[in-house]
Symmetry: C2
Subunit: 226 residues, 2 copies
DNA sequence: ATTCCAAAAATTTTCGAAAATATGTATTGC
DNA sequence: GCAATACATATTTTCGAAAATTTTTGGAAT
């Protein structure tokens, strides 16, 4: 793996987790010290992340971590609902046994982690399994473009979820677990209408929670904009 | 404008127009000579284009123009129909007079160019106005994420359309003009169902044509996959 | 003829310094 | 005191060369 690839992974990781907070200037000398490499691989990574909208760039004035905004969150959630609903329907239509087994497996692993407490309750493992579950639902949609957009939107919304998860220890953990279980159940039963309705509700609930914690009180826009 | 930005624009331009054909290796020494700059700005541009899937990269083995495939075209068209239909509905719901005027203006300019013959029949002007028209339809959707995905998918499908446009001089030009007019009419009348139906038909017809010219005879998949 | 290996060549990747630009600071003039 | 300007510093951007890796070439062994 080249240094540029390592830089990309590390920067993306640190931005999504908020270790590099939104709006923070990404000065090359700082990054060079932090990640122990020269400017070249860092600039390449920053350019890739710029194309993914995780960093912003201004000509001759450097890079910054892309800012967060309630508007962007609402937009991302609404587009996610559209795209993932379509993808879920396609998956339900054409998913095979391996797809179904993948969902069962991902849900099981996710629930194990949701139930864990104490030192084993690692929030990053939880996040990884949450992603894996949602990704597994769409795995059979047979549309690379859809999956890429899913990934982009997941990364974008994850930036809003992480600080909330870090602040409160497992907010409504059991509740969410139930939602995931019901979503998996409807999906495996090939009930596309029910599954997409649950998916939408799941996202709207999560987004409402995030929007509230974010301190800006406009949760109604989530439904209005849909 | 920095050299890296110029490199990005030039490479994107040349890839979409097919001057750098699909699959072609993008060697830095070649590019350095072609665009008259050093390696650094070129590598930055290539990394951005990689994130946009217009070029592929393999560790230590360089960059290539991303290949074309019928599967990718079908996928892109289907996802475009979903995303643009939603965006068109949103635009129709919330578009104001400026939005409507923008559509009228873009359609007028497009038709002017469609009708031109001889030395004025510049295919690149036509392409730009075609893009501007479709962009104008969605301008009021109020969703940056949707517009970004539209742009990505437009660029991806443009790569398939260009060689066809270049081969045949204005294939079914007047026909397409009629389609655009009808689409604009339904949109301005705020008839979302009719407008999205026309949009879908427009894309399926275009994609069928492209798929046929592309030599692979599976146009039926376009409907089956939808 | 074919496979294997080593050397040569070509290419990508990375660094460190130079050039270009932006930012901050002191100083001058009013 | 305040704006404008010149200077110094900090930062980004670009280049050219060095390092690392892959690809090609040429020949030897089977």
């Amino acid at each position: 793996m080249t240094l540029a690839e390592k830089a990309y992974d590390a920067l993306r990781h640190d931005i999504i987790r908020g270790e590099l907070p939104p709006g923070r200037p990404l000065r090359l000398s700082d990054l060079s010290e932090r990640y122990e490499m020269g400017f070249s691989p860092l600039r390449e990574a920053l350019n890739r992340l710029q194309a993914e909208r995780l960093v912003t760039a201004e000509s001759l004035r450097g890079f910054r971590v892309a800012p967060l905004s309630l508007d962007e969150l609402l937009d991302a959630v609404n587009v996610r609902i559209r795209i993932e609903s379509d993808a879920l329907r396609a998956s339900i239509r054409s998913g095979d046994d391996a797809w179904a087994a993948g969902i069962v497996s991902a849900l099981y692993a996710l629930n194990l982690q949701v139930d864990r407490t104490g030192p084993d309750a690692d929030i990053w493992t939880l996040e990884a399994r949450h992603y894996a579950f949602h990704r597994a639902l769409l795995a059979a949609c047979n549309s690379p473009w859809t999956l890429e957009f899913f990934e982009r939107l997941y990364a974008a919304t994850e930036r809003y979820r992480i600080p909330v998860l870090l602040a409160a220890a497992h907010p409504a953990g059991r509740d969410v677990q139930g939602e995931h279980g019901a979503l998996a159940e409807a999906t495996l039963a090939r009930d596309a209408d029910k599954a997409t309705a649950l998916l939408e509700e799941h996202y709207r609930r999560t987004a409402n929670h995030l929007a509230n914690v974010f301190g800006m009180k406009r949760p109604d826009e989530l439904i209005a904009a849909g």
